[in-house]
């Protein structure tokens, strides 16, 4: 199963899922990078603001490409939020600046804690569920290819993704909420 790793090194083009990831790696990147550093409440506020802007858009326009709009708006809100936060905490402006993801020790450390959390959460899943997640999100295979490889139906692949995500979401959230408010505590650990 080493081809998974190779595949990653080769890059993610190869006519796979340009879809979520095309947008994810683009405008949403900054939002995601920022998101790891803002307290959870703020993220809810960002979502609230994104929601309000979605309401103001013309429905027909949104329908043309809802995901692109969602991420574009999220990105805009996140950047504005960055600026606002910079004004609010002038001494912290450096870490909220528009850093490209994965730059500096702070970023590495964040990434590391995130990886550990994800690792732990993934262990709660069945091997099959993990494999489907890996094939889908990491190797970016289509449902069809995953279904063939795992010898299950497409429907099961989809269902498993939704289920596994729900489980991940719950355990990640659990960890976050137990180590969230005390950002300070996390840092001193």
């Amino acid at each position: 199963m080493a081809h998974g790793v190779e595949n990653k090194m080769l890059g993610r083009s190869a006519g796979k899922l340009a879809d979520w990831f095309g947008e994810l790696r683009g405008p949403l990147r900054r939002f995601l990078a920022l998101r790891r550093r803002v307290p959870r409440g703020d993220v809810e506020d960002i979502a609230q603001e994104v929601f309000l802007r979605l309401l103001r858009y013309d429905r027909a326009e949104l329908v043309s490409d809802p995901k692109a709009y969602l991420f574009k708006i999220a990105n805009n809100v996140a950047s504005e939020w960055t600026m606002r936060a910079r004004q609010r905490f002038p001494h912290n402006s450096d870490w909220l600046a528009e850093v490209p993801p994965a730059a500096g020790p702070q970023e590495d450390w964040e990434r590391e804690t995130h990886e550990v959390a994800l690792h732990t959460a993934l262990q709660m899943l069945s091997p099959r569920a993990r494999e489907i997640l890996r094939l889908h999100f990491n190797e970016e295979l289509t449902y069809e290819s995953i279904a063939q490889r795992m010898q299950v139906s497409r429907r099961i692949v989809k269902r498993e993704i939704v289920r596994s995500y729900s489980a991940l979401r719950a355990s990640l959230d659990h960890e976050r909420s137990s180590s969230d408010a005390p950002i300070v505590r996390r840092a001193s650990k």
Partner: protein, 360 residues
């Protein structure tokens, strides 16, 4: 409706977000995209969960320790097919969301049971006062009761109504506040709600009547009701004595002086959200939003700045969480909030003079 519901709801929305992501991955028709847009525009929680999904998807894509997980997978994928499924379903993570159909069903059953509990208490309460029933709710208290005829009345906080059931008529007088009526069909006994001498008559339908300081507002969720505004004979205006029929998703107001507005179309979902402890606003003034929160909670919000009070607001809020609205005002409008006592929050003007546009 305890705090327990909230994580459950979140988990449910998280699963919905994942379902949308999965659906939108494979095929996207205009209809589906439209439904997705509508779903997103239903609640900020939907937006939040969609963004979270994207976040986790990206994290899974970037995850560098997959090989450690791969090693645990047996090479014979075919044999594996059966075992992990049962493994997965028999050992759910303690805090994992219950998204399987069975669990969903259980949860719904539990919810149903809970609401039946409420109804049962309500029915007991009602039977004690057979004849003329008076029901009063306090601030922050919401009550749902089932009447002897099977109709269900959802009573908003700070409301008072009298119910009189006979063999020929079902009469309700709304003296204060707001109530939502799900009327059981009974052709021979019209259901009539009277408030400030305006009558609303229904046979089998769902509608709400709200008594405000300056008049009453009638909103129809399902079916049709007949509204007889204050009797023109008692009115100097002498104009609108005729019966007005109001359909689903229409609203009508009758002022204290007897002036009747034309029926206008409203978003029924938003209007009745209070009965499900949500408050939904679209371009309502801050003052109006605050009034809604204050009637539902002990914690009272006071807006000190008139220009802030008149600013329009859109959004969905948890009716029992006024603090979230205050935080929203702080974040979105730059307002300054001061908690004076555990029962009162004062909200002052934004520090810099903002344009009176919707929250940016």
């Amino acid at each position: 409706m305890g705090a327990n519901d909230i994580p459950h709801r979140r988990a449910h929305i998280a699963a919905e977000a994942a379902e949308w992501a999965v659906r939108l991955q494979s095929e996207t028709s205009v209809e589906m995209r439209g439904e997705f847009v509508d779903w997103l525009r239903e609640s900020p929680l939907h937006v939040a969960e969609m963004l979270r999904f994207a976040e986790t998807a990206a994290a899974l894509g970037d995850f560098t320790r997959w090989d450690e997980h791969i090693s645990s997978l047996l090479p014979e994928a075919a044999d594996d097919n059966v075992v992990p499924l049962s493994l997965y379903s028999t050992r759910p993570h303690p805090s994992s969301p219950s998204s399987t159909p069975v669990r969903k069903l259980l949860r719904h059953t539990a919810l149903l049971a809970a609401s039946i509990g409420v109804v049962a208490v309500g029915a007991l309460f009602v039977s004690r006062y057979l004849g003329d029933i008076v029901i009063t709710t306090q601030q922050a208290e919401r009550r749902e009761i089932t009447l002897a005829d099977g109709s269900v009345v959802n009573i908003a906080p700070d409301s008072s109504l009298r119910i009189h059931l006979t063999s020929t008529e079902r009469a309700v007088a709304l003296d204060r506040g707001e109530a939502l009526f799900h009327v059981a069909k009974d052709k021979h006994r019209p259901f009539v709600v009277t408030s400030d001498r305006t009558q609303v008559r229904a046979v089998g339908t769902a509608f709400s009547v709200e008594r405000q300081r300056d008049g009453i507002v009638i909103t129809v969720a399902e079916g049709v009701v007949a509204v007889t505004p204050k009797n023109s004979a008692e009115n100097a205006v002498g104009a609108a004595s005729s019966v007005i029929s109001l359909r689903a998703n229409e609203q009508l107001s009758v002022s204290t002086s007897g002036v009747t507005s034309r029926p206008h179309t409203i978003d029924g979902h938003a209007e009745f959200a209070w009965a499900e402890s949500q408050l939904i606003f679209e371009n309502n003034s801050v003052a109006e939003v605050v009034r809604r929160f204050n009637s539902r909670n002990r914690l009272q919000i006071r807006i000190l700045d008139p220009s802030l009070a008149s600013r329009p607001v859109s959004g969905v809020f948890n009716a029992s969480d006024p603090q979230s609205f205050v935080s929203f005002l702080e974040a979105a409008a730059g307002a300054k909030a001061v908690t004076v006592t555990p029962r009162e929050i004062l909200v002052g003007a934004p520090s810099e003079q903002d344009t009176p546009s919707p929250a940016h």
